[in-house]
Symmetry: C2
Subunit: 330 residues, 2 copies
Amino acid sequence: MSPASLGEFGRIARFFRPLAAEFPGALGLTDDAALLSVPPGQELVLTTDAIVAGVHFLPTDAPDDIARKALRVNLSDLAAKGARPLAYTLTLAVGRDIGDAWIEAFAAGLAEDQTYYGISLAGGDSVSTGGPVWASITAFGLVDAGRMVTRSGAQPGDVVLVTGTIGDAALGLAVEQGRLSVDAADWNTLVSRYRLPQPRTHLAHAIAAHAHAAIDISDGLAADFGHLCRASGVSGRIVVSRIPQSPAARQAIAASPALMSLVLGGGDDYEVLLTAPANAVPPLIAAAAAAGIGLTAVGIIDRADSDAEVYLIDDDGNRVAVEKAGWTHS
Amino acid sequence: MSPASLGEFGRIARFFRPLAAEFPGALGLTDDAALLSVPPGQELVLTTDAIVAGVHFLPTDAPDDIARKALRVNLSDLAAKGARPLAYTLTLAVGRDIGDAWIEAFAAGLAEDQTYYGISLAGGDSVSTGGPVWASITAFGLVDAGRMVTRSGAQPGDVVLVTGTIGDAALGLAVEQGRLSVDAADWNTLVSRYRLPQPRTHLAHAIAAHAHAAIDISDGLAADFGHLCRASGVSGRIVVSRIPQSPAARQAIAASPALMSLVLGGGDDYEVLLTAPANAVPPLIAAAAAAGIGLTAVGIIDRADSDAEVYLIDDDGNRVAVEKAGWTHS
């Protein structure tokens, strides 16, 4: 296959330069570097995540979805840190069999998300590869100085909350891989949640204002709650029956209760798990409602604990097993 | 092959966390994001470059050399912009056949260069791939506000200068690929110049102080001079006999004069091409000498010219042919 190609410079000029038009520091992608100015009293939050065909997405996924997933997994990290999106750099690696139409669709996906989430392309690199397609993004956000929300601030007595619904993406991957059968409507719901994370960017301001600690759920609810508790030196518990689920996930689990362990361990939710003092819960819930984002109290931070024990418990207080599918995802 | 593996988290803790120890904003690589503070009156310069096995390095290259090349191609961009290195993020993709020893050597290469160039790891991501090994780095530097040196500032009458020697890397690649035979000492010189760029970090302060425009030479001297002239809207000339060459390159060209066109077009030099007014040349040369870096006047910017014509001329004023090997390198 040898589709028409504008070449590297032509593709940058045609498809990517427009993505940088509103960010003066990008210099129109005509230089070796970009320039970021950080307003006085603010700091820059940066995060890097890459996605690889066959690992984080399917090679047959639509290019605009691949682009949006690459950007959104980074936006999700910024949201969990309470940061407002500013700009990002992109490195894209494709084989010589990828034509201009694929690149054009990839850029169109970025354009759509840039508008919705308020972020601009600042620079990048494009390379050719004989292997799978991959995209690596470094995203930049702003926080008021000293106000980045880390994983390590959870305190005993904090309420544990999660945004959105948990488990859809893990179930969606199982559906897409043919390991789980659901009806057509649920197929769409679950698979689209795997393909396209919904970063909680529009809750970032409230997270910055109220959360003691936060993490985005990429390795799985159980694993990421563990990361947060270890970083904070606390133990905590989540009551499994409180975990918010979509109707599609509820229906799948009703038919096959063992799937619950995949919900807890599966990963790729890209929701935010946060902890906050009890008096901050009402304003957080109100801010989430205003942003159209679900926010549910699911647990509590129990005590300072260097062993950082994490309990996922049923309504009788018994521990619930977790399938660790998400843990080694890399 | 299934070498011993610490796993993703284990490798980060053992091999990469020490690289972030001196950069508080990295939070010990324990969070989803890192924090950069930009001092008042300064701006952040950022650049992204990736290298891929089989394209930018050979899969059999030593892992510490691969790591250093990945970092240095980014440091070279910062140097050309007149920026002082601050921090970088790394995404590393390796297959499951890569063992801990390879990763340890890769990190050791980074550690060595971090010390020499004064930069710290701030964050990153590691992913698995079924394809070739690749590393994508985004590097951050600082400049005084408004003082980043771009490609677009060249002015008529400016002297054109280049650091170091030109052509060694292109000849080194030809040697390594068996397309060119040289003696053992020259083999080492040329091949090492291809494998390990020498970013001109220690000249960045003088470039910031004196240069009107600058670019690092990665696509080839002729191509990158063209990029600079187009961005600046000027035409210019380089006198080929003035281009600084290593003894090894001179000897190879003496034996086979046609190689000169590879020197002009070959790429991967990672030297800096800059333009400066004539009265800035003496302090630039002095600063370069103090830093132990060669700096040679090779040409002149002739006039404003929207066609940005670029002349590579011999001593009689005739145009010299260029092999465009470097142009489509991507």
